[in-house]
Subunit: 202 residues, 2 copies
């Protein structure tokens, strides 16, 4: 089958794109508005960019209502926290993704615990196994989306997801985003080492 | 545990970032050099950006050898193909990720089949279930990385991964990238619908 993006509707194109770029990591983003209201919303257009400096990116479509609260808060305060979503958080995270009015505090809505951050104003999600405190580095406009680039200032890792001081994916149990309303869980892990290539003799 | 990016080595920071932003989708990117040499290499810093227009992004670290062939080819020709990696492609994809000299054709190396694209010069990977022919939209320098933004011109989907005309994740069997040398497979799919929020009465 051939899919020509110009020959299908924007909605069909969106459904196609989210069904083939899979599985996607989820950034559960907590922010605070200029007047102190908390917000939390999930995004799966999420990418690590580089470790020099530690940058990550989140694409926030300007046309979707609830997402705009996050974008506006990041634009207003320059700060946000990316919380990792393990399986036990799944249902509460999805509940925050509704098109809730601007004055709804998704922490209250879902019973999640806002815990004070160390270097930024927005709180992290206490139930999240890993939280990344971020400062806005740049916001890049690309078509209908705002691509928010943030620098990680500090990371919190719950000791329960560590094995010998490292994050253990079997304990992290990260949720991945698929097409439609699907999510993947990490059950089996395959290990495939990158090949070592010896330099050719001169 | 607290992780302060400024207090650990770049290598440790890289390992930390790839272990917490998981699972990541994989872009197996095929390109062609100005003088006609083929190249294929996998990237897991990969994101859909928006469907208006259909943009995706790949972060290519300028310091890693093999990746530079892909970046240089995209800069030279303005074109690339993103091939989706299903489980049956795993070992050949990983084999291409070695630091092969510039004149190595990873199609030949792995026995993958270059199939002529319709709208761009680089071939797609014949064994891939889905291939996205892309044109460079923009390359954005961010710290040590080049963030390549491409527009999808045309998508090829193998009919074997379709169910009633839609991509079926159980047939696609996408590989996800984890930390270390780990990869996830999609076995169980959880369905969680986004809540419907009724507008408040005026």
């Amino acid at each position: 089958m051939l899919v020509d993006p110009k020959a299908i509707s924007p909605a069909a194109l969106y459904q196609f794109m989210i069904s083939v770029v899979v599985p996607r990591p989820i950034a559960f983003v907590s922010t605070i508005s200029g007047d102190g209201r908390l917000n939390a919303a999930p995004f799966s257009y999420f990418i690590p960019l580089t470790n020099e400096p530690p940058l990550l990116g989140i694409s926030i479509n300007r046309r979707r209502g609830v997402l705009k609260d996050t974008l506006r808060n990041i634009e207003d305060t320059g700060e946000f926290v990316v919380n990792v979503v393990g399986e036990p958080l799944a249902e509460r995270m999805v509940r925050t993704s509704g098109d809730w009015p601007e004055d709804v505090d998704e922490f209250e809505l879902t019973g999640l615990t806002p815990v004070a951050s160390e270097r930024v104003k927005p709180p992290r999600v206490g139930e999240s196994p890993v939280s990344l405190e971020c400062r806005r580095h740049q916001v890049i406009e690309l078509g209908a989306t705002s691509f928010v680039v943030g620098e990680i200032l500090l990371a919190h890792v719950n000791d329960q997801v560590l094995t010998e001081g490292r994050v253990d994916v079997a304990k992290l149990r990260p949720l991945g985003r698929l097409g439609g309303d699907g999510y993947s869980v990490v059950r089996d892990v395959i290990h495939l080492a990158r090949p070592r290539v010896e330099p050719r003799p001169a």
